[in-house]
Symmetry: D2
C-alpha cells in the first residue's frame, strides 16, 4: 500500500515499532557514488537523540545506526540502502492497563479501530521514535545534495513554544545550533527553559511552531500540479507526529493581505538572476522554486502524554482515567526540529532528481539571447 | 512522472490549459456500478462556474462536462472515466506583452525557469481554470461515496476574507449554500459583499480562509505514516492554486495550547461508539479518522492579477511594469470552496477504498466481547 | 488504482471503449520542448489503422488523433498531453444476444465476473481498438527519443504466423515497412497472404509471433531488480491484447542451451566500447542494457472472434452457441506490430528519463583512466 | 525510484547484497491479524536453501530469517514487516581479479556501466542470493492468502532442463515436493540427476523451464489493461535472475494454433460456476482470472558462472580470460522454483487486495436472477 513510504525517485520507507527489536529506513533511488558512512548519519541522529538534555525525554539510547546494504567501500552503489537502529532500551514491564486503555489525543484508539490489533508498547508504530529513521534517511539525502546541488543549506528552528515567541528582529542564524531549543536568539534561551521547566512541574505540556528554511535551492525545482514542491513539503511535515498545520511563506497570514501587499516584485540582479523585493511566497510559485529561500513552518500540538489525569475508555468500552507516566517530552516540538530538517532534505533531493530526469539541462534562462 | 495525478486507488489525473481546446480529468479506479451522469457532475460545476455572480470573474463559459468513457447505461464500469470540458470562450487577442513578461506572484516565471517553454495564454496550466476538472472529479467521488459510505456530508465555507471573519456563535450550516460567499451566516453577507466591492474599486484583491468539514466519516479511515488521512488532505488542499497554509482541527493554534487543554477526552456513547468531549484533533489521530467531523482549513493568498502596477521583468531580463487587465476575481478564495469540497470527496473515497482493500471487514470494535 | 497506466516518469494512461464517444491517452512526464504535432502522430496511427488492407478488419475509421493539451506552438510544454481519437464509425445495431452471451476466449466473462457491469459493445474496454491510443502515445515517445537519445531505431516485424515462418537467412530490415505483414522478406509476402486468405475462407484465425528490435539503445539503461528493462518490456508486451508469451533474446530456447553456448563473450571494440561475440542476452544483462540490440519477441493467440460456432453460456447461465460475425482480423498479430513498437518506444524513453534522473552523467566508462 | 519494489497494495521491497552484512525484504500493506512467525517463513527458506543437496551450490548458510517489525504477539499489525537474513558465510578472500573483470553473461558489466560503482563481491546486488528475501516475503503472502482466499494452492516444478523434459502423461502433483528437482515424476529423478552430474563434470551448466500453477484462484481477480494479472505475473517472473521468457497458458505455442483450436469453450457446471473445456488461456482472460488454474511458465538461462574459460574484458578495457571458480549451481533453474512460487503468492495476494478495495463484494454472478 506504500503507506509507509514517501518520495518519488528518492523513496524512503520507514519501518519498526518503538519497542520491537529494531526500526529503520529502506532508501531506494539514492544516486550512486555518494559518500555515506555510519558516522555521517550518526551525527544527525545524535542531534535528535532523546536523553541529550533535560528538555527532552530521558530515554538513554545510543540510537546507533547500522548500514546493512547499498554502500560499498564508503560510497552508495545505487542499490537500496538499508538503515537499521536497534532498540536497546526496551525496559520490560507490565503493560496491562496501557494495553487495554486508549490515551486521549493518542493514536491508540484509531489504530485499534483500524487494525483490530496494535503493538501498544510505547505507542508502537505511532511512537515518535519512528522519526529516528527519518533523521538517518535525511543524513543520506544531505550527502547526496552536496554533490548534486552544492550550496544548499537546510536549517530548522523553533519560533514559538506556547507563550514564548522569537523576536524576528534579533534573528541569529548562527545561534540556532548552539542551544537546546534550536532558537535563533541566544539571549532568549534561559526564558524558554524556565517556561518549559515550570510546565513540567505542573505536569503539563505545550505546543510549538517550527520553521525550516532551505537556502540555495535552485530555481525551477518542483512540479505542478499535484507533485508541487509545496504539496510534497506540506505532506512531509504533516506526516511528523503531532503536527496539525503547515504554512509556506506567508502562511495563514496570507488571508489577511491585499494583493498589492502580497506581491513579491521582481528585478534583475547583478549576477543575471532575478531578485525579489520580498518573499511572501516562501520561495515557491505554482509549486516550483523561485531561487529564494524555501520557507516552511508547522505547528506541533502539545504532547498528550501528561501526568494530569484525563478521562478515557478501555478496549472493552468501560471508562478509565488515564495518567501517562514514564519518559515524555513536555514539548515534542523540540525533537521535531531535526526531523523536519531531514524531511526537507529528502523532499528537495527527490525533486532535484525528478527535475534532472524530466528536464535535464534544458531549463529556461532569463536574459538568454533568443 | 505522475505529477498531475493524486490518489492511490481512486486516482485522478487532470490535464489541460486555460486557453487550449479542452481540459479535463482522467479517473482511474472508480468502483463499478456507481450511477454517474453528465447532469450529476454539471450540478457541481455550475456551483463553481465563473460568471455566476459579480464576486467572481466574468468569463461566461458554460463549463459543460462530457463523459467520454467509463460509464455505460448510466453506471460506471470500473474502467477509466474520462471527463472533458471544452474551452469555448477563447477570446483571441494579442498576447505580445504577456508572453514576454512575468507577473509578480504568478507561476509565469517559475514555469519558464523550469520548462523553458510555457503556454502563457491565461496562465496556461497554472490557471485556476484547471480546478474545473477537479470539481467534475469530485462529483464522481461523491456519487461513489453515496453507496460505499452513506451518510457522509462534505461542505466548505469561508471563515475569513481579509478583515472580514465569521462569527462562530452565529454559525448556520444551512446558510452556506444560500450565498455567494459560502459563509455560514446569512446576516453577514451584505458586509462581505460591500467589503469586496470596495476592494475591487481600489483595483486590489484580498486573501481568504476556507474551512471544509466532512461529517459522517467512519472511524478507522486513513493510514500511518506517510499516507495519513491528514497528510493526503494537506497535500490535496495545498495543491489548489494560491493556497499557502493548511490546518487540521486546532491548526496553528495548537502551538499555543497546553496538553491539558488540547486533549479530547473520550467517553462511551449510548450507541456503543466512542464520543469525545471536544474535537481539537479535527477528527484525525495518528493519521486515522476518529469518527468525529474531519475539519480542514486553508489560507488562500490574494490574487496577484491586479490592476495596481507592480515591478517585474521580461523574459529577456529587462524591467517591466505589470498591470493585469482582464477578468480576475478580487478574492480567489470564493472559487476555492467547491474545489476544496471536491478534493475532500476524492481523498475520502480513496481512503475508504484503501481501507476496504487492506482491512476488509475486520476492524476493531470497541466494547466487543473477547 | 492506476491499472490503466504504465511507465514511471513517462507515464501513459489510456482510456476509452470501443464504441464510446472517444478513446485516448493521457501522457504525463513528457519532457518539454519536444516537437509534437497531430501530423506526426497520425503517421503512426495510419500505419496501424484498420481498413488499410484486406488482412486486417474492414472497419473504416480515419482514427484521427487530436492533441487537447500539453503542446503549445508545436512543442511540448512539460504538462500533460491529452490525445483523443473520436469513434466515428459506431454502427448502431441490436446488441441483444452479444449483451447476454460470453464469447469463448474473450474477456466478456471475466469483465462481467469482476465488475458485474460491462460495456459489451464491440468488446468495450477489452477491444483491440484501445491500442490506437498506445500508438499515438508511442509517436510522442519517438519524438522525445529523437532529441534525448538520437540514433535509436525501433522496428517490429512478424516472424511467424501459424505454419508460416520467416527465413532468418533472408532477413531484410528494409523490407519490413514495405508489406502488409511487416515481414523482413519481400519474396515471402505472397505465400503469407495466400495462407491467411485460405484461413479466412475456412472461417478460422491463427496466432503469430512478433519480434521488436531497438537498435542504438545506449548501455546502462534499465534498473535492477523489479524495474528492470526486461521486466518492464515484458509487462508492456504482455499488456497487448491476446499476447500469451514474451521472450527476451534467446527466450524459451535458453532452457536448452549449455552455459558454454549461451555466454556472449566480450571484447573491446575499436571505438572504445565493448563488443560482444553474440547476443543471446537480447541486449539486456541484469535488467540493464548492454548497448547491443534490444530484442523482444512475443506470441499472439489466434483471435477468438471467428465464424466457426463454439459452445458457451449466457449471463443467466444458459447454454449458447456463439458465432462472431462482423469485422475481425484473421490474424490479430499483424495489427500488434505497430502497437509493440509504440510500447517499446514508451518503455525506452521512460528508462532513459529514469537513468538521467538517478544517475545523471556519472555512469561508468570502460577503459577510462583511474 | 522504487525500482526495488513490486506490488500495488501488498508492496515488497527487497534490499541487500550477496556479501554485505544482511539482506531482506520490507513488506508494506500486509493485512492485519495474519498469523506470522519466523518458523513459518523459515520453512520456505529451508526449501530454497543452498547447500541442501548436491545439485545446488554448496554455500552452507542457515539463511535464518528474523522479523524485525510489523508482527506483535504472533500476528501482523498492518504496519511494515521487516524481514532480515544475515549473511554469516562471508568467506574473506582476495577479490582482486573479479573486482576488475566482467564475467560474460553476468550483470557485472552493465552495473558498472550504469552506476560506475558496484559491489563486486559475489555478484553484489545481482546475486541470486537476493531471492532469499523474496521467498521470505512469499511466506507472509501465503499466510495472508490462507485467511483471505482459502483453498489457493501454489506449486512450482521443472518441466525441462536442457535435454531432459517431463512426460506430461506421467504428471504426479504429489511427487513434486519429494525430489531435488521439483519434478512431477519420481521415476525420472535419477535420469535428471545423472544428466546434471555429467554436466558438472564437463564444467558446464544448463538452462531450464519452470512452470508454476495456482489452483483455486477465484474468478474476477486482476485488472485491465496495464495491471493485468498476467502482466504482473510476467513482470514478477521476468524479475527473477536469469529468466529470459515467460509464458501464460499456451504460451509461445499459441502462435501455431488456429482460433478453432485455441478457444476454451464454456459450460455451466453443476455447482453454478462456469467450467471450461480446456485451459489454453492459462486461467486468465483479458488480464482477469477465470477461476481455472493459473498457469505460468518461464525459461531460465544456463548460469554463466562456469569453469570453462570465456573471453572478456577488464574495467580498464584490457582483454581477460574468465573462469568462474567457487560455488555455483550447474542449473539455477532448480533454485528458481521456490522463488517463483513466492512471487506467484505475492502477486495473487496483491490482486486479491486490489479487487477487494475497488470492487468489494459486488462482483457479477453468472446465473443470478435479474
Amino acid at each position: 500500500m506504500s503507506m509507509n513510504s514517501f518520495g518519488h525517485l528518492f523513496r524512503v520507507t520507514t519501518w519498526g515499532e518503538s519497542h520491537g527489536p529494531a526500526l529503520g529506513a529502506t532508501l531506494d533511488g539514492c544516486p550512486p557514488n555518494v559518500a555515506v558512512s555510519e558516522e555521517m548519519l550518526q551525527h544527525w541522529l545524535d542531534k535528535r537523540r532523546p536523553g541529550q538534555n533535560k528538555n527532552t525525554t530521558q530515554r538513554n539510547e545510543p540510537d546507533a545506526v547500522k548500514i546493512l546494504s547499498g554502500v560499498f567501500e564508503g560510497k552508495s552503489t545505487g542499490t537500496p540502502i538499508q538503515l537499521m537502529i536497534e532498540n536497546t532500551d526496551q525496559r520490560s514491564r507490565d503493560y496491562g492497563e496501557i494495553a487495554q486503555t486508549f490515551r486521549p489525543g493518542h493514536a491508540d484508539i484509531t489504530y485499534f479501530q483500524k487494525y483490530g490489533n496494535r503493538d501498544y508498547r510505547g505507542g508502537g508504530r505511532s511512537s515518535a521514535r519512528e522519526t529516528a529513521a527519518r533523521v538517518a534517511a535525511g543524513g543520506v539525502a544531505r550527502e547526496a545534495l552536496k554533490s548534486l546541488a552544492p550550496g544548499i543549506e537546510i536549517k530548522g528552528y523553533m519560533t514559538r513554544m506556547g507563550e514564548m515567541e522569537i523576536d524576528r528582529a534579533r534573528f541569529d542564524w548562527s545561534a540556532i545550533d548552539q542551544n537546546d531549543f534550536w532558537i535563533p536568539d541566544a539571549a532568549a534561551v534561559q526564558d524558554w527553559e524556565d517556561y518549559l521547566q515550570a510546565l513540567r512541574k505542573q505536569h503539563d505540556s505545550v505546543g510549538a511552531v517550527v520553521e525550516v528554511v532551505a537556502r540555495g535551492v535552485p530555481a525551477g525545482i518542483g512540479a505542478p500540479i499535484y507533485g508541487k514542491l509545496d504539496t510534497d513539503l506540506a505532506a512531509a511535515m504533516m506526516s511528523i507526529n503531532a503536527v496539525k498545520a503547515v504554512e509556506i511563506g506567508e502562511g495563514m497570514n496570507a488571508a489577511l493581505l491585499k494583493g498589492s501587499e502580497n506581491a513579491d516584485e521582481i528585478f534583475m540582479g547583478n549576477d543575471g538572476a532575478p531578485v525579489y523585493s520580498s518573499n511572501h511566497a516562501g520561495g515557491i510559485l505554482g509549486g516550483i522554486s523561485t531561487g529564494q529561500d524555501v520557507v516552511i513552518r508547522f505547528a506541533v500540538k502539545p504532547t498528550s502524554s501528561i501526568l494530569t489525569p484525563r478521562q478515557s475508555i478501555r478496549k472493552d468500552g468501560t471508562a478509565a482515567e488515564v495518567i501517562t507516566k514514564g519518559r515524555h517530552d513536555p514539548c515534542v516540538g523540540i525533537r521535531a526540529v531535526p526531523v523536519a530538517e531531514a524531511m526537507m532534505a529528502c523532499v528537495i533531493l527527490d525533486h532535484i532528481l525528478l527535475h534532472r530526469g524530466q528536464i535535464g539541462e534544458n531549463q529556461g534562462v532569463i536574459g538568454a539571447p533568443g
